[in-house]
Symmetry: C2
Subunit: 376 residues, 2 copies
Amino acid sequence: MPVTIRDVARASGVHISTVSRTFSAPHLVNPETRVRVLACAEDLGYRPNRAARALITGRTHNIGLIIADIANPFFPPLIKAAESQARHRDYHVFVADTNEDAAAEEELVHALAKQVDGVLLCSPRMSNSLIEQLSREVPLVVVNRQLAGLPCVLMDVGQGARTAIEHLVGLGHREIALLGGPRGSWTSREIRRAANAAARTVGADLTVIGPNPPTETGGLAQAEQVRRAGVTAVLAYNDLMAIGLLEGLDAIGVRVPQEVSVVGVDDISLSRLTRPKLTTVATPTAAAGRTAVDMLLQQDTDAPRTARGGGAGVAVGVRRTTAQVMLQTELVIRDSTGPGPYADPERPEAAAAGPGPHRRADPGNPIVAAGDVVAS
Amino acid sequence: MPVTIRDVARASGVHISTVSRTFSAPHLVNPETRVRVLACAEDLGYRPNRAARALITGRTHNIGLIIADIANPFFPPLIKAAESQARHRDYHVFVADTNEDAAAEEELVHALAKQVDGVLLCSPRMSNSLIEQLSREVPLVVVNRQLAGLPCVLMDVGQGARTAIEHLVGLGHREIALLGGPRGSWTSREIRRAANAAARTVGADLTVIGPNPPTETGGLAQAEQVRRAGVTAVLAYNDLMAIGLLEGLDAIGVRVPQEVSVVGVDDISLSRLTRPKLTTVATPTAAAGRTAVDMLLQQDTDAPRTARGGGAGVAVGVRRTTAQVMLQTELVIRDSTGPGPYADPERPEAAAAGPGPHRRADPGNPIVAAGDVVAS
DNA sequence: GATCTCTCTGCAAACCTTTGCACCGAAGTA
DNA sequence: TACTTCGGTGCAAAGGTTTGCAGAGAGATC
């Protein structure tokens, strides 16, 4: 029932190889023949069978997207952007959810390997060495994790955390808490590192609370802890936790931002909808998705791998690009941050507490931090 | 480089067909041989090539998920559940985003058809006839849309709307607005139909405002309209619009629920986090995802299609199940609904306005409304 | 007119796997 | 002993496509 290249060949009176070439190397076929074949194909509703094509070319025109938790609102914009970019270049996208489980990640990479030209690992929980090992099986691009020798797409949460701390100190806060993220998260480490450094520089106290699960509950559970810590401002690992904290503080009667200021990270769409609206470090997730797909497909284009000579898999000795892209973040000031106990009434920044200017991130602005080409 | 069945055969000293059988029909091979082959396979890290397998068996062990908008918070839980269920049965999932565009939907079904065993169409915008036509190319299961002759997974939003109206009237509201959804949405029609009928039954006035885009902005834009309509309660097509309306009403100084009560539909995770917390009709999206995948795979199992006899595609004359499953919804009462002008102080329901009992939906409870088997 | 070049097309092998069929040998039956 | 049965294995074709190679003409050059 499904129409194959053979049917088209029969209908247009040419050999199947001519039909094949009409689609995969049109310049090799006589224009007249070409239009005839195309007409027949159109007529019959012929679509090349990508699986059969993959079998011989070694490229599937599919990519895999491995996600820690699809339901975590941080990821959907990334998935959407990645899928859109991929399809724009005629690639289809497998999406798989690991439930934040490292073992599931590994299994998925294996399972998908034969069926895709590359895999996007989003905020993986696996060990570095395992990721490296897997990258020998199938081309990998890692999002939200830095690995030497592998292409990575990173968001400059360090810069974001610094800006957030400076913002808080500018508002007159000196006792600040950091609600840490999950163990094994590169982003979490990076935020802690940068926040610590920034606090030291500007002379503020930073209390780290955590690690915590990166969920609303994770934040909610720490409200009491935050009050006891005696801080007047909190930087949370992500918006979900910040929102949970907002809930928790409200429940124990601590007002935001009058008594405690709260800053999140990510700027998920939800953050505009809480009351008070959340001040947060916006991460360019959509841009990250697009960029990661671009890097993966770039790699794919660079490394020709016909089954004829060598077969699928990462060819040995091929030049692999391992560019690491760092995307900028930006602080979006909303209503969850206000003046602190050391506020200087002279300074306009503190006075302008509450609804402030919204500095938006420019999502399409990758900064190549290290773009080198090495022989593997 | 990639290890094939041939490598395993060589290593274990048997013919490739024996290796093949070890994986796809283990009972046909001598236990001793089997363990030897499996050991070699394990050793070499062999994984069957699904594309090659698909080429001959006619089943890809992939399914497609076509989604109107991945970033719409209604969908991620559905995607997550569907993916999980599919992988649990050893299927991989393509996800594609159509941006609410009917043409994109059609194109995607065509593009995916050869690469999947079936497609889940989630809240499609295409015409019924087009969907029917496409269903002849590849098995389809439709979510959130009713089509005669096709397997559908529906959520009983009609019942939900009725309950919502009754809830509002019970609180003392009689002038109620319905914020309509997008044109061409089955859910939207269903809600309007049921809300109208319920209002008529209980003697309330229902003003329909819309259609509107199913987004936060869609709700936000109608705040003024709602005030002018002189209603004291609003039922919105979905939570996103309800939340937008919350925003809009706040901006023009209308207090919720004191002056206007608001009810949404879907119970997206966000709804628990707004201020006030949103009363809403919970739809079992995760269950819908699981059920839809089950139905698709069931169909797939029922209709054997080896390439040997007939090839891929929907076999002609094969019995196709066209069960339509209706999933129950449930009203979750939170803080956005309160007593209305006709509240009866005697009745406890009105008195208990504000945080009320949370009646949760049971997500794993499909009601088969019409499960018939027809010959196509 | 012979030779060469060049464009277009056909042939057939190859990609990896499944599966109907045939074969072999051992065990069971008459 | 002769025959059947049956479990286990090998053989080879098939699935839809790509692609190196060769060949067939047509046109150009001498």
